[in-house]
Symmetry: D2
Subunit: 345 residues, 4 copies
Amino acid sequence: MVRVAIIGGSGYTGLELIRLLVRHPGVDLTAVTSREYNGKPVSLAFPALAGVCHLTFSWPDPDRLAGAADLFFVALPHKTAMAVIPSLLEAGGKVVDLSADFRFRDRKVYEEWYQEHTAPELLAEAVYGLPELYREEIKRARLVGNPGCYPTSVILGLAPLLHAGLIESQGIIADCKSGASGAGRGVSLSTLYCEVNEGFRAYKIAEHRHTPEMEQELGRLAGLPLKITFTPHLVPMNRGILATLYTVLQGPLEEQEIAAVFEQFYRGAPFIRLCPPEILPNTAAVRGSNYCDLAWRLDQRTGRLIVVSAIDNLTRGASGQAVHNMNLMLGFPETQGLEVVPFLP
Amino acid sequence: MVRVAIIGGSGYTGLELIRLLVRHPGVDLTAVTSREYNGKPVSLAFPALAGVCHLTFSWPDPDRLAGAADLFFVALPHKTAMAVIPSLLEAGGKVVDLSADFRFRDRKVYEEWYQEHTAPELLAEAVYGLPELYREEIKRARLVGNPGCYPTSVILGLAPLLHAGLIESQGIIADCKSGASGAGRGVSLSTLYCEVNEGFRAYKIAEHRHTPEMEQELGRLAGLPLKITFTPHLVPMNRGILATLYTVLQGPLEEQEIAAVFEQFYRGAPFIRLCPPEILPNTAAVRGSNYCDLAWRLDQRTGRLIVVSAIDNLTRGASGQAVHNMNLMLGFPETQGLEVVPFLP
Amino acid sequence: MVRVAIIGGSGYTGLELIRLLVRHPGVDLTAVTSREYNGKPVSLAFPALAGVCHLTFSWPDPDRLAGAADLFFVALPHKTAMAVIPSLLEAGGKVVDLSADFRFRDRKVYEEWYQEHTAPELLAEAVYGLPELYREEIKRARLVGNPGCYPTSVILGLAPLLHAGLIESQGIIADCKSGASGAGRGVSLSTLYCEVNEGFRAYKIAEHRHTPEMEQELGRLAGLPLKITFTPHLVPMNRGILATLYTVLQGPLEEQEIAAVFEQFYRGAPFIRLCPPEILPNTAAVRGSNYCDLAWRLDQRTGRLIVVSAIDNLTRGASGQAVHNMNLMLGFPETQGLEVVPFLP
Amino acid sequence: MVRVAIIGGSGYTGLELIRLLVRHPGVDLTAVTSREYNGKPVSLAFPALAGVCHLTFSWPDPDRLAGAADLFFVALPHKTAMAVIPSLLEAGGKVVDLSADFRFRDRKVYEEWYQEHTAPELLAEAVYGLPELYREEIKRARLVGNPGCYPTSVILGLAPLLHAGLIESQGIIADCKSGASGAGRGVSLSTLYCEVNEGFRAYKIAEHRHTPEMEQELGRLAGLPLKITFTPHLVPMNRGILATLYTVLQGPLEEQEIAAVFEQFYRGAPFIRLCPPEILPNTAAVRGSNYCDLAWRLDQRTGRLIVVSAIDNLTRGASGQAVHNMNLMLGFPETQGLEVVPFLP
């Protein structure tokens, strides 16, 4: 049994990590930290976990943590994450960081959209934790930057097409819709029940910080820098992201050629489901699972190819993907602990 | 008091018409028909209307109806609508038709997307009931084809820009999200509570029948035929449509020039609200009202102009707009009976 | 036009007061105060009110307020309310207080469940603002203590039965379920969207502060002191309270005798709707309105009479009732400004 | 591997059985029947199950089924269930019946509330499948009548108290609230999204068919016949039942005596969680799991003991409990396949 710990375990991604890790047969969850709940049993803070998790939240003391686990999930806000990660690595631990701090290759891009980077020496070795793109690198990594929820949904939908050079790399639009858990468990007026329920809105149009992350990875797939138009929206539901992706074909294509490109690219990827022709992705069909469901439609009238992807933002968009990365880093079977049946209805 | 009747009053748009018309000071609602509820008091079928509406649902007998009202709201499915409307007009009535049957100028377009048109002789005189575009024509009309919900949200968002020639007329994308009442009150598996709740999905990508309606009106505004990419989505909420509209500017533009174009175009339009710079439209902010809230953002990085519009699909997208049209047709003050404060929370 | 002001207008009951008062033909809303939004236009804080309310939030300065209106709605938390009300009255204003501060006849009861009362000299003249019980007293009142939301739903359901002596006065159970707006617009973890959505729970069992308010009024109706068992629950919806009330009949009774008692008691009450036999109350059927829907069922097997009432907690349970009280205090027609059709769906 | 089959697998309880059985290490799911989806792959009817369940729905032909499995879950409507079960038993199969057909010891009670019983000879051997009450009998059973969802929530809340003789057996009230999946996946107006969402209502007051089932089991625990007042309500959420149970103590009791009785009664019961004093049950905390969360409060003012229980109606209230029963019948570890962490948020 490998010992793992969660740094910052009282938010929704922390909770989701606990849900997955307590049932993972290969690991022993030894610590969950929380400044807010320090000293409180996990099952008192989250009665759903009574009888399931017998830990008590502890203070995120780096020294004590260093010896407590072999691999750390860091579920802290960005900036706070890069403050604690170097010491964890130094003490010999492996790290999956769920913040944005180690997702960027180019320090300048990070600093333009976030703030000064305080551990830039680690950027070169950090691997972007999207297993469908970097499976081998992740296996060898000491530090994985777990992708953002929106970027996961967008990159998985476009990767086969850009990699195969089927679509124009410029002018892509990602119209994304997320459930409310994406806003986190922090207390704010805008995420109160009555402020979210029975409403639908866009936010941070053309200025959301997940944009450069998408551009970094899509640009690598395309083989040249690209810019994307990204609009996030808030859906009155707990979980799920649906991404509707608008692209322009480079030339005329048959449906089956597109299908072949997707099948080829995702051959052997256990968490990608290509929808049969009569089905379109629905966030409800992936709820609680690590699946990404994908479909596409050719709009013959306008020459556009529209791709739709659906993920659970907390599982595939955060904690499930983090466990997937852990499985690769520790040499476990890729799907271990993630064979969760989507939760319906 | 002008006598008005609702043909097909047991669906959500019929209900919404009753809600608005029973409080309209200029009209007397004399009849509401329903084959299903024929003979049943409205207040028994809809307990919410007890003490509010004292009518009993009647059979839609055209002969009896002809004399019962001076203006008819036809809230029937397309095809059924055009079967009853000619006789209502012949008997001297005015008609606001909420179906698609009289929205198209070109019979061929209608027949390509719907079915054979059985009253094509009326198409020339029918007016497309979007008051911001056709106020004067509506005032003189005998027959108004009330716009579809999605087209209302899309056309209002793009009209000023196309009219002013600021954006490319080709390549427009309308990514629209609608609450579940848009699917109607008909019984089906896909609209059951547990099938809609906690899920989000696209449907009828690049094949929804509201597409040609948008293209007809946007093409007229642009002065040339155009094609649009339209994707509808289903949001787990009762009411509301948010349209996120992606356009390409014809040339560099300042924010204030765009603002000026919108302000100019909608000067004096009582149901258009241009959001101040710090606000983005939210369907919750227009709920139950006839408002269309509009905002736009320039994505300087990609040269796109993104417009967002929000309406209540049952009010502005159907019955409220129908009452607005009635006000114009009957010479009432434009906002009469529609001064409803958005319902929050 | 009578000038009215809202003290504490940035919560949900404040918002609901604005919604109703801006459309009330007899009053002029001259001021809305908010410490938090002081100086901010109402339409910026609440974009739903753009074009509807042209006021700017002001600081609750008692001196300036005193001259600004003839009647004040105080929508402040308890304790804060009784600190400002005396000066408003002194300056000649009338007051409808939506807090608990002036609902109790017996200072000791208030102090046992809340805290020390700082304006006890006003308790004797304050009228409990349930118009079905105190219509005449309210007409003459200078200060009305507007009832709590739960007590409104419970008292209206039981008043006819206790008044007629049909049920045992001891042993009554009120099992009440409220939408999330009842918790207010204050920011807290327990009212975040993801904490409320898809969950259902009881809270403050046998210790909720609305209990003594119910007991005061029910005891007066019964003619002797009584105790009630009250359990509140939180429903994942914005608005509405359903109260399921369990009583024991004093002796055998026919359905029609019960019906007669309800009809007699509520004769001429414009906001009470007694459901026909085949209908049970649904909070959705009263949404946004001032109605209270009532029904009852005899459980012949156990000898119990079960009464069900439904109200909108923000309208009938707070702001709508406050406007009703204002209408009575100012001599307006009782239903003026409250002829809102329930909002469905 | 024991072969199991689901008869009637296209409803919500069928879906939930599939979710649990495909991950159960001891069984092989060999067939799922559905008249409606006969011949359709499960993963096409339910895209959520793509990659998870590779079966195709088959016709419920009793002859072919008989040899296909060793144990059958019958998830058919009552009446239909008892028509197929005898032949399954005859062919040597074991049966867990999720309908009401084999829950009653007394044929007359069944026939009074349902209809004529067509397999009364099996009633004597059928075991009521509530493991906390009948663990040993279930282990030896050939036919288990799986409890109803409401009765599960009510009986588990009251069993320790009635068994210990602490409460009056007469006059108990069960005020229960259920999510919409309890109404099944059948298509009807009353379960449409817009008819359920943002509403709350009671239904079938004092006449719901789960009443006699509660009375049968509670009466056995009390040692004498009893009657209960039962009111079901519909909550706008997918899953969950909360039961608020009102009882009268037989005499004065300390909190800790009550706690001791619950702890004693449920010692070793792996799916019962007694909440710590500061926690009250929430359906969200048991979602997707087989747990029943229990708490109680003494209302010292009225002498009542109020018990609250929370279950997931589809898991503990139907399919999870059915799998629990299967585990007992087949000699598997009691919790096998049911170690699901509650799904939050």
